[in-house]
């Protein structure tokens, strides 16, 4: 199990819990209890019942015939876009709200970039009758207006993060500050496999339902649980972590993460962390981080608000360092074209985050009997404005 988190919370050289003392009791309580909580039969039952009846799982594994014909391989789409709220994010928020309840917390905070995690959090808070505050960069609130209103309709309070560049990293800072100031009754639902241990592992476990289902579905479909490739986009890395999870120890499965190159990795406007990042500490974990020589975090850029983060989860930093997974850089333009291509070939308009994973197909040469699974992490409804502004369709 060389790719799993260690007892101390590390993935190889990455991970850990680099937090100020004021956060220690909360994070430590979570660390001590999360495995016990999530392994109880009652938790597992609530979690799986909600995934089934509320989220709509299992999500289909769809053989995309026209796409397959184009690339000369069998390409399956794992339809996380069909999850309630439109993306994989809800798998994690269902899990964490149940953990919060088990910990006796009745207030929830979250950060959000594109607003998908914010909406997924607001949704489960409504479901459970818990107070919900979502921090969102002021800049992102402007670019993702419909999601801001969805959160408000669901009863959440959306608080603009006004510090720094007013995007996802600043929203995360604000959520952490809120947690420092409200240490007893509040649980922080982090939206990706980032943050101090145990968050990366806990979020990966909740998202691992994706690869668990893929294995079962592929077995039915082709008589073999293991595909040749699993491809997913990587912002913080939660949908990729979920799609990779049960394949990580199976080295015959090639794992590919698609990162946002923005306007190009050398353009100064990019979010391709494995190319541009160095080991550093942000938001409580040691991981690859885009930063200056002086250790100041660099503002990332991507056309997709959900990939606009200066780091990746420590698990992915480790998969990169050990070369267990490959990471490809996809530009805005490549992603947008891949998004349109999927719409035309298969009748599915993907989220722009997800479109980065689809664009990776152009960078790989497949054998004709290769079985490829692309994690279709979300749907493009929230991105219509961006598609319209881009305009080339």
């Amino acid at each position: 199990m060389k790719y799993r988190v260690s007892d101390e919370g590390y993935y190889g050289n990455f991970g850990g819990a680099y937090i100020p003392e004021m956060l220690h009791p909360n994070v430590e309580e979570l660390r001590e209890r999360y495995l016990d909580i999530i392994s109880t039969p009652s938790f597992q039952k609530s979690f799986h019942d909600l995934l089934k009846d509320f989220v709509g799982r299992p999500t289909p594994l769809f053989l995309a015939k026209r796409l397959s014909a184009q690339y000369g391989a069998s390409i399956y789409l794992k339809r996380e876009d069909l999850c309630h709220t439109g993306a994989h994010k809800v798998n994690n928020t269902i899990g964490q709200i149940l953990v919060a309840r088990a910990l006796g917390k009745n207030k929830i905070i979250a950060e959000t970039g594109a607003g998908q995690h914010g909406v997924a959090t607001a949704t489960v808070c409504a479901l459970m009758g818990m107070d919900c505050i979502v921090y969102m960069g002021k800049h992102d609130m402007e670019r993702q207006k419909p999601n801001v209103e969805r959160m408000r309709i669901l009863g959440a309070k959306v608080v603009p993060a006004l510090s720094g560049s007013m995007t996802l990293k600043d929203a995360t800072n604000e959520a952490m500050r809120h947690w420092i100031n409200n240490p007893t009754d509040t649980h922080y639902i982090i939206g990706s496999v980032v943050g101090p241990h145990p968050y990366p592992d806990m979020v990966a476990r909740f998202q691992s339902v994706i690869s668990q289902e893929i294995k079962a579905q592929l077995t039915t479909e082709i008589g073999n649980p293991y595909p040749d490739y699993v491809i997913a986009c990587v912002g913080g890395g939660s949908n990729a972590a979920g799609a990779f999870y049960h394949f990580i120890e199976e080295e015959q499965v090639t794992l590919i993460g698609a990162e946002a190159a923005g306007k190009g990795v050398d353009s100064g406007e990019s979010a391709a962390t494995t190319v541009l990042g160095k080991p550093g500490v942000l938001h409580g974990s040691k991981t690859l981080l885009m930063q200056t020589e002086d250790g100041q975090v660099i503002e990332p850029y991507s056309i997709s608000a959900g990939l606009d983060y200066p780091g990746i989860g420590p698990m992915h930093a480790h998969l990169f360092e050990t070369e267990r997974a490959q990471f490809l850089s996809i530009t805005d333009e490549e992603a947008m074209q891949a998004g349109i291509a999927l719409s035309r070939l298969e009748g599915i308009i993907p989220a722009i985050e997800t479109a980065h994973a689809l664009a990776a197909l152009d960078k790989i040469s497949f054998d004709k009997d290769d079985v490829v699974v692309i994690n279709l992490s979300g749907r493009g409804d929230k991105d219509l404005d961006t598609y319209i502004k881009w305009g080339k369709y």
Partner: protein, 260 residues
């Protein structure tokens, strides 16, 4: 030469005033001038903050000062140069406080050596895990003679306070409330009870109370329960408005220390 923090705590155990400010704020080179004025005005310890782009434990005032300093081009190597300059003229203990990432990029071991060589006496790295310190850095800090202060907060258990006290040297940094920096208002009964509890613990190190100390009344009150206290946001807010640093810093320090 003996560590200046250790010497200070040997001589003084009451009303120790430690002032925190961000390096490179309000102007890139004000770091040096402010230290000199603080010594003249009667501060006991100078804590200089290493600016960082993402200061998660800080409230708006210190966040803003970090941003101003970084925008002006403040860096950790420049700060170490400034500390060297300060040390030529100032005898007070100097503590450098900052988030781990800039220090990690500089190289923690290299930073320990260079900070000491520049004339610093102590470090505070709030997001450095204590076990990592113990495993990797405690020995080199002891060898060069730098003190390390870890934070405790009202939610820290007694057992953990004991452990943190045993790993700290110079002083323990007692955060006054479960909060980020820069809160205002007077102390509530829970905080007073926490101060009393700390005083009764008889830690190995003296402790200084910080966060939320912002005027004469909160400073005096904190000093009833601890050897001293740390003021940051209130001082930085004053710097931000000041048209005459010399005069305003003197007024600020004098007003804190005046006896009624």
């Amino acid at each position: 030469m003996k560590n200046r923090l250790i010497s200070l705590f040997e001589k003084k155990s009451h009303k120790i005033l430690s002032i925190f400010y961000t390096a490179g704020f309000p102007g890139k080179h004000d770091t040096i001038r402010i230290a000199k004025i603080l010594e003249e005005a009667g501060a006991d310890i100078i804590e200089i903050g290493i600016p960082f782009s993402d200061p998660v434990a800080d409230g708006p005032t210190i966040q803003a000062s970090n941003k101003v300093a970084l925008d002006a081009g403040m860096t950790l190597p420049l700060l170490l140069e400034q500390v060297k300059e300060i040390r030529k003229q100032v005898k007070l203990p100097i503590v450098l406080m900052g988030y781990l990432n800039p220090v990690m990029q500089y190289g923690v071991e290299r930073f320990i050596k260079d900070a000491k060589a520049a004339g610093a006496d102590g470090l505070i790295l709030p997001d450095l895990p204590v076990n990592e310190f113990q495993k990797f850095y405690q020995k080199s800090m002891e060898e060069v003679g730098l003190c390390m202060s870890f934070l405790i907060s009202p939610t820290t258990s007694e057992e953990r306070i004991r452990m943190i006290d045993s790993l700290s040297s110079g002083f323990v940094y007692a955060v006054s409330a479960s909060s980020t920096t820069g809160t205002k208002g007077s102390f509530n009964p829970d905080q007073i009870a926490y101060f009393e509890r700390l005083a009764a613990l008889q830690m190995k190190n003296p402790h200084l109370i910080g966060f939320g100390i912002h005027d004469h009344s909160t400073f005096t009150q904190a000093c009833q329960y601890a050897p001293g206290a740390i003021i940051g946001s209130a001082f930085i807010a004053m710097l931000e408005k000041s048209a005459d640093l010399e005069k305003d810093i003197h007024t600020f320090v004098t007003s804190l220390k005046k006896e009624k």
